[in-house]
Amino acid sequence: MNAQPTVFIVDDDDSVRRALQRLARSVGLNVETFGGAQEFINSYDSSRPGCLVLDVRMPGLSGLDLQEELKLRGFTIPIVFITGHGDVPMSVRAMKGGAVDFISKPFNDQTLLDAIQHAQAKDQESRKEQAALGDILGRVDRLTPREREVFALVVCGKLNKQIAHQLGTSEKTVKVHRARVMQKMKAESLADLVLLAQAVGLCKPKVQSE
């Protein structure tokens, strides 16, 4: 998890691939290269942090095909696309598919390095988010079924009395459950609890505020 991030370079053109690798190495980045999209998919381990530098046009699976494939598999590795000019429709498609950046050939080396850095940062951020989410889900997991019901109602803004009525118990019992939910979820306030609930999709923020 705290491994050095890697720049995965996928380009069918040997010499462009070698050049990109050389540039990335020259600034001390960790690099791995692949001659084709399929080759990358076959060996990619999504637990490894990093970003993908991808040529849009390649024989066989194109860069766009690879982007789709990764999405289908639920992988969120940030992608920096490299395109030739005249690839506007492709660029639009890639952007819609969630590409982080677009660099068109020929490009300034700093532009590419900046894009890589940006993508790495984004990956790190999303990995942090993922980790946090995992943590929250773990806390939710530890709630009893009854506590979960109370949790859901509390974050919807219901009063203890209303909750007791709805669940057919006493207000006192609800208070006990509520305290345990706060404790297990490590929430300091009702506001905290609502945020945690939103993070795991237990309630919709918009509907809530109305």
Binding site: S15, A19, R22, L23, S26, G60, D65, K105, F107
Partner: protein, 427 residues
């Protein structure tokens, strides 16, 4: 008839040819000396002694029949001595060269040979005199009104009874118009081919720009990386590698540019001895550009031990590029990992080379297969339909064959074959 035929004894039997001039006015005095008719004993030497009068008559009829044919063919038939003295001159020769028989007989063959060819003609005549069979050849002649014409000449030696070479008989055909027509066709064909290449390069422009961009991009990135390496004082061999890669890419860009230049060049087709694999290799950069542009891989499978072919490199490359483009264009709906075009060279029939372009595309419907080689037949929205028509004419001019077959699995193969000529006996 009979009384008009003069019977004349010449010292030797001499070459004989009937001259049926009874209905053609008075004989030119000069001609009387060499008047060639069918002497009464013309056949004497050629018939066995025991020949019956019946044999003799049959032979005479046959001879007459042959001479009549000679008189009437449109080819010129001329008989000359080894010094060039014209002994006989048929109707075809009169029409072709403009001299009446009366004028021609007694002239020297040099009178109808352009001065520039004199020496060659004399040498040839010597070879014939020495008994060498020279067969047929192409040369030029002068007509009475001063035109130079191209003729196809077949020469044979006439011998006397003892087998001694005595005179030369030539059959000469005027091929001037044929040659002009051929030339016109050749020029037109070459112009259409050039037009096709320019058109194709226009179509390829985007792909080619991209293809040039690749090495340029790599060169730029490598140069920047090299600068960073210098700044970071990295080992020199890393720097060497970077510079080596840069040089390679410069060459690569150069090859693309050369390929484009070749195709745009307007030049007369020039036949030379070619290695078909080298011809195919020359268009690899452009072919790969086309492939990359449509996410199609191009695979070259080049056969071993293929004989040399005779041809115009640029036109053959044009054919290949057309077939490759068609193949790539046939595969937009093909699964990405099957989108591969195979270009293969093989030996076929022992003395031919075959070049196949095999795709994995939509294949050929019967209605397309029947008409695909026709000019202006296209099933593509912006196709001109000239690609295969031009390919056909080029391959035909190379003495080869171009055809298409449906593949067993998917797509089709368009291929051409060319005859191989061992260098020694190039036609």
């Amino acid at each position: 008839m009979k009384n008009r035929r003069r019977v004349r004894k010449t010292p030797s039997a001499g070459p004989t040819i009937e001259s049926n001039r009874g209905d053609r006015g008075p004989t030119h005095p000069a001609l009387r000396e060499v008047q060639m008719e069918l002497p009464a004993d013309a056949l004497a030497d050629r018939l066995p002694e025991q020949a019956t009068p019946h044999d003799r008559e049959r032979a005479e009829v046959e001879l007459r029949r042959l001479t009549a044919i000679v008189r009437n063919v449109t080819d010129a038939v001329i008989i000359q001595t080894f010094d060039g003295g014209i002994l006989a001159w048929n109707r075809g020769a009169e029409l072709m060269y403009g001299y009446a028989e009366e004028e021609a007989v007694g002239m020297n063959i040099r009178d109808i040979i352009p001065p520039r060819v004199h020496q060659k003609a004399a040498a040839l005549s010597d070879r014939i005199a020495s008994g060498e069979a020279v067969g047929s050849f192409e040369t030029r002649r002068l007509t009475k009104d001063g035109r130079t014409i191209n003729v196809w000449v077949t020469a044979t030696t006439l011998t006397d009874a003892s087998g001694r070479p005595e005179a030369i008989a030539t059959t000469e055909r005027d091929i001037t118009q044929l040659k002009e027509a051929e030339e016109t066709i050749r020029v037109q064909q070459s112009e259409i081919a050039h037009f096709g290449r320019v058109h194709a390069m226009g179509e390829f422009a985007a792909a080619l720009a991209h293809e040039l961009n690749q090495p340029l991009c790599a060169i730029g990135v490598n140069a920047r990386a090299a600068q960073r390496m210098i700044d970071a004082e990295e080992p020199l061999d890393e720097l060497q590698d970077a510079l080596g890669d840069i040089l390679q890419d410069v060459e690569r860009a150069g090859r693309v540019v050369q390929g484009i230049r070749d195709q745009l060049q307007k030049c007369e087709p020039e036949f030379s001895t070619l290695n078909i694999n080298a011809v195919v290799g020359g268009i690899a950069p452009i072919a790969e550009a086309l492939g990359r542009n449509d996410n199609t891989g191009i695979r070259f499978i080049l056969g071993d031990g293929l004989g040399p072919v005779q041809g115009d490199r640029i036109q053959l490359q044009q054919v290949l590029l057309n077939l490759i483009r068609n193949g790539v264009e046939a595969m937009p709906d093909t699964e990405p990992d099957l989108r591969i075009l195979i270009v293969e060279t093989t030996k076929s029939n022992g003395d031919e080379v075959q070049v196949c372009v095999r795709d994995h595309g939509q294949g050929l419907r019967d209605s397309v297969a029947e008409r695909m080689f026709e000019p202006f037949f296209s099933t593509k929205q912006d196709g001109m339909g000239m690609g295969l028509a031009i390919c056909s004419s080029i391959i035909q001019a190379h003495g080869g064959r171009l055809w298409a077959t449906q593949n067993a699995d998917a797509g089709c193969t368009v291929q051409f074959s060319l005859p191989c000529y061992p260098e020694a006996n190039v036609p």
